[in-house]
Point group: C2
Chain length 154, copies 2
Amino acid sequence: MTLTESTPVRTARVDDCASAPRAHPRPDGAARYTISEVAAFTGLSAHTLRWYERIGLMPHVDRSHTGQRRFSNKDLDWLAFVGKLRLTGMPVADMVRYAELIRVGEETFEERQELLERTRRDVHRRIAELQDTVAVLDHKISFYAGARKASERV
Amino acid sequence: MTLTESTPVRTARVDDCASAPRAHPRPDGAARYTISEVAAFTGLSAHTLRWYERIGLMPHVDRSHTGQRRFSNKDLDWLAFVGKLRLTGMPVADMVRYAELIRVGEETFEERQELLERTRRDVHRRIAELQDTVAVLDHKISFYAGARKASERV
DNA sequence: CGCTTGCTTGGAGTGCGCTCCAAGGATCTA
DNA sequence: TAGATCCTTGGAGCGCACTCCAAGCAAGCG
């Protein structure tokens, strides 16, 4: 694997929205990553990256003169954001919708904002559910812990 | 639909572990619910309830003299707990494993506790991820909010 | 030059968690 | 008693998000 050695310099700005926090090695400027490098950075498989492009979840990736994909820092930023959305359980179709809105342009700012606000509400709800679940788990775990201690004492 | 009117009385004790917090209407004592009543209570489909039983996720449900399922309060408690586990994203296979441990008996207390503790760790991790994601969403949303305000002022 | 490794494509396959179907028996309401 | 509604089963089907395959082109190395 020939990873262009990373000199992480911040060039920032994902699409037209402020940059996401950086999570990956990020060589500077005109960095052009192969698909396997991006796979290593993101943890996604090359298959999945191609599939994302096919379904319209990637804003058209640049190509080398021989037709191979060359991903940019912008692409990595976008993938990092998609990774976050994936964690929320958002369906891929909704992410594709968001990607389409970006392709259309600035007149979709309002709709994009609404989409993200809906997502944020969903995430808050998920967090509450999970905290609820933790309470149940705590309860059961302490039951087992107590029962086992008691049996030791027999 | 003929729901036996709910007189929620606490008969408690899910399997051999302390009862989970009650989430459903719960008539008292020897209540025997049909599959569609349980579907209404839990939000699961009758199909799913039968499927749960087939794969071993339900401790054998009682039957009427003609062979129809009659669910007990204990069954509802168990389904409520399964619902919590489902929210954590735990694979059904792992829940089946837990159900099997319960069937075996008290000598599996330790393994059950470990399983639940692993699950709790996973849930805490998920919560942290989601909180991270909320931060990113906040960031992007305020970008859009700011951009739209700015364009109004033009 | 041959070899290996990596990339390309369209399309088929996989695993999970349901979801539904067909055919027949049970139960309820008038 | 008729008719509607609910329940039973095994097995097939579905939607999602990948995941892999085959066949072929391209680049680097001894």
